[in-house]
């Protein structure tokens, strides 16, 4: 079972719709015991970093997420969900989950901000992009981007005035700045790859 973590923000329904379409068993939940029992976890995201972190802290979900990451459970953070894995965000000067060293910064470009639309991802070799062509288009909606301290965890980069990290892989933690649930066929393929990662790691315990 994959749990889509409900922390009071974001477009939970569309992630659930995409997993349903793929026939992947999933549930939207904010329950700590559901999260502890899950095979894999998705942190979706539409909203602000400060609001997201406040909700995670007040509900105790932030602590549970960190514990589950330490237990090597596969995680996928989407958009704000990816940003929350980092140390801090410029958005409201927020301290984040600090699972991946690095900062989340605001776009300073002459292009329109937020970036809204389909942009290309230059991928590095990763289980998450298996079967997806290099420079495929994905759907983005964001004003902030992630800047990992070490480039080793970068598995995707995108150009929007500057080149930024649009996907990460750090052991069992994955993050994508774009919305796979809104990125047509490539997005569905990516979610299906995440499912394969989740169940490949599942030892049945």
């Amino acid at each position: 079972m994959i749990i889509i973590i409900d922390y009071g923000l974001g477009n939970l329904g569309s992630v659930k719709n995409a997993l349903d379409k793929l026939g992947i068993e999933s549930m939207v939940s904010s329950s700590i015991s559901d999260i502890e029992k899950a095979d894999g976890l998705i942190i979706p995201g539409v909203g602000s970093a400060s609001e997201g972190m406040i909700n995670l802290q007040e509900s105790g979900l932030g602590k549970v997420i960190r514990e589950q990451i330490e237990m090597e459970k596969p995680f996928l953070g989407i958009c704000l969900g990816m940003q929350l894995f980092f140390s801090s965000s410029e958005e409201g000067n927020t301290k984040c989950l600090n699972v991946i060293a690095g900062k989340v910064k605001k776009f300073r470009t002459e292009l329109k901000v937020p970036q809204i639309g389909w942009n290309q991802v230059k991928k590095k070799s990763s289980r998450l992009f298996r079967g997806i062509k290099n420079n495929s288009y994905f759907y983005f909606v964001h004003s902030y981007f992630c800047q990992p301290k070490e480039s080793g965890s970068e598995i995707g980069i995108t150009d929007y005035g500057i080149t930024f990290c649009s996907a990460i892989e750090n052991e069992n933690v994955f993050g994508v700045q774009f919305h796979p649930e809104k990125s047509g066929e490539n997005g569905l393929k990516l979610l299906s790859n995440f499912k394969d990662i989740v169940y490949a790691n599942n030892t049945g315990n």
Binding site: S14, K112, I116, G117, Y137, K182, G184
Partner: protein
């Protein structure tokens, strides 16, 4: 590079997709759920669903349809028609829309734009503007193109963006359904004064019209309905043409 978007639009009346010429003479185009799925599979970059005769009594039925369409669509999905309050917007988003288009209510009460943008984010709020040329002015119409407002489209677009609209869906009523091409002058003028993406709508008749509105009209996205519904132009062929013309376009299947 950010791609130019090709958007398919479903004008829905009483639960059916319809399409007219200059906003009248509606013709039946099919079931919105099937058509939503069709465009998702055809490689559209976005789907817009407009409830063109929204009234309170059929709103619940429409939410049902929106929910069903959302389950079939894995591309951005915008819903509009009859959105009057923050609560209308919330329920539309909960039904599965990614963005909500507002038109008449925003003109009557411009604060609705800022209220919605503050709660749901600018990216969720699309301002739809229906425009008709009146002498040398671009006049804004509301109530599904039925009521003139005396307002100038450029002034209104600028104000709406200041209030928090994240995108402009610009329809030329003069061109709508005529297949004579987008209004390039109108689209260019609006695109040049606003800092948010502009979706051009009304008048697409062939592949070249899309090319012209992206280049001369400076649009970020182009919307069409009848041209796609009745099979006159396939999205796949259109995208291939635009790619050959060196525009940044999302390739769907290679």
């Amino acid at each position: 590079m950010l791609a130019k978007r090709i958007i398919s639009c479903l004008d829905v009346r009483d639960g059916r997709v319809v399409k007219g010429v200059n906003f009248v003479n509606l013709r039946d185009g099919g079931d919105p759920v099937e058509m939503g799925k069709f465009y998702n599979d055809q490689g559209a970059d976005e789907l817009v669903f407009l409830d063109i005769t929204a009234s309170s009594d059929n709103r619940k039925i429409i939410m049902n349809v929106v929910e069903k369409v959302a389950k079939q669509v894995f591309i951005p999905f915008t819903v509009g028609g009859g959105i009057r309050t923050v609560d209308d917007m919330r329920s539309t988003l909960l039904a599965g829309a990614d963005k909500v288009a507002i038109n008449t209510a925003a003109l009557t009460n411009p604060n609705l734009i800022s209220e919605c943008a503050n709660i749901f984010g600018n990216q969720c709020v699309v301002l739809a503007i229906d425009v008709k040329q009146n002498k040398n002015k671009w006049e804004v119409f509301v109530n599904g193109g039925r009521t003139p407002t005396g307002k100038n489209a450029l002034t209104w677009a600028k104000l709406a963006i200041k209030l928090g609209a994240g995108e402009i869906l610009l329809t030329s009523m003069d061109q709508d359904g005529t297949k004579l091409g987008y209004d390039l002058v109108l689209t260019k003028q609006i695109s040049e004064v606003v800092s948010v993406p502009v979706i051009a709508s009304g008048g697409a008749g062939n592949k070249q019209d899309f090319y012209n509105v992206f280049t001369q009209g400076k649009a970020d996205a182009a919307l069409a309905a009848s041209l796609f519904h009745f099979g006159e132009l396939k999205i796949k062929d259109l995208k291939k043409y635009l790619l050959d013309m060196k525009l940044p376009i999302r390739i769907y299947k290679s």
